[in-house]
Amino acid sequence: MTQVFYAASALAVVAAFLTVTRSNALHAVLYLVLALFALAIDFLVLGAPFIAALEIIVYAGAIVVVILFVIMMVAGGAASGEQERRWLPPRAWIVPSLLAGALAVLTIGSLAAGGGQAITATTIGPREVGAVLFTTYLIGVELASVLLLAGLVGAYYLGARD
């Protein structure tokens, strides 16, 4: 289990890095899907099968698909790849690397110090999740549905052709 976790994590990290650095939009999306799958494996290892399933179904299956639709409507063709490469000259990498690198060094540096208690392999299945979700976090559920409604209406209105 431990090795599975580290392997999946490494895969996720590499795939994420490739996502943000590709010039072709479709390639980037596919790498994102790969990263999401790797993360789903991570979730499984950490004892959250329900969320793992949701990750694949909702994230990789719905959100990424929507992004794909828009990519195909907007950025189709090899021309967009050319433009992307033009927008990524070497000197554009300096400041982001510095800032993100500083952030990474700080967080990982402070985390590496304390080991923290080890996680044991217990699974928290959908039954427990559902029990807490619809009792303690009921209002969150309602608010999330309102949020989705707002997103729906907003997307419809903003995307309409005038």
Binding site: A25, A35, Y59, L99, I119, L133, G151
Partner: protein
């Protein structure tokens, strides 16, 4: 049976967040910024799952569900905005949106 120390999970999560931030700062195309944003969100989700596993409670998973719901709504509205921007400016260059300068 112990699988992995909590700090390692958090380190992976931090890495994902930093890569996502790196992507947001690096890319000029709005769509790629959105993809980087999704990477960051997933990094945060991993941290929540790790915490949920460490404390043996489902609350972290519930939070991840909310994160996903929020991400869905955000992506929907964001993409609709991108469509409008593309229709008006014929480009998805983030630097073209500087009307609020000064």
């Amino acid at each position: 049976m112990a699988i992995v120390p909590t700090s390692h999970v958090l380190i992976v999560s931090a890495l994902l967040v930093c890569i996502g931030a790196f992507g947001v700062l690096l890319r000029r195309n709005l769509l790629f910024m959105l993809l980087s944003l999704e990477v960051m969100l997933n990094g945060a989700a991993l941290a929540f799952i790790g915490a949920s596993a460490r404390w043996q409670q489902p609350d972290g998973q519930i939070f991840v569900m909310f994160i996903m719901a929020m991400a869905a709504a955000e992506v929907a509205v964001g993409l609709a905005l991108f469509l409008q921007i593309y229709r008006q400016l014929s480009t998805l260059d983030a630097d073209a949106l500087d009307v609020m300068r000064g």
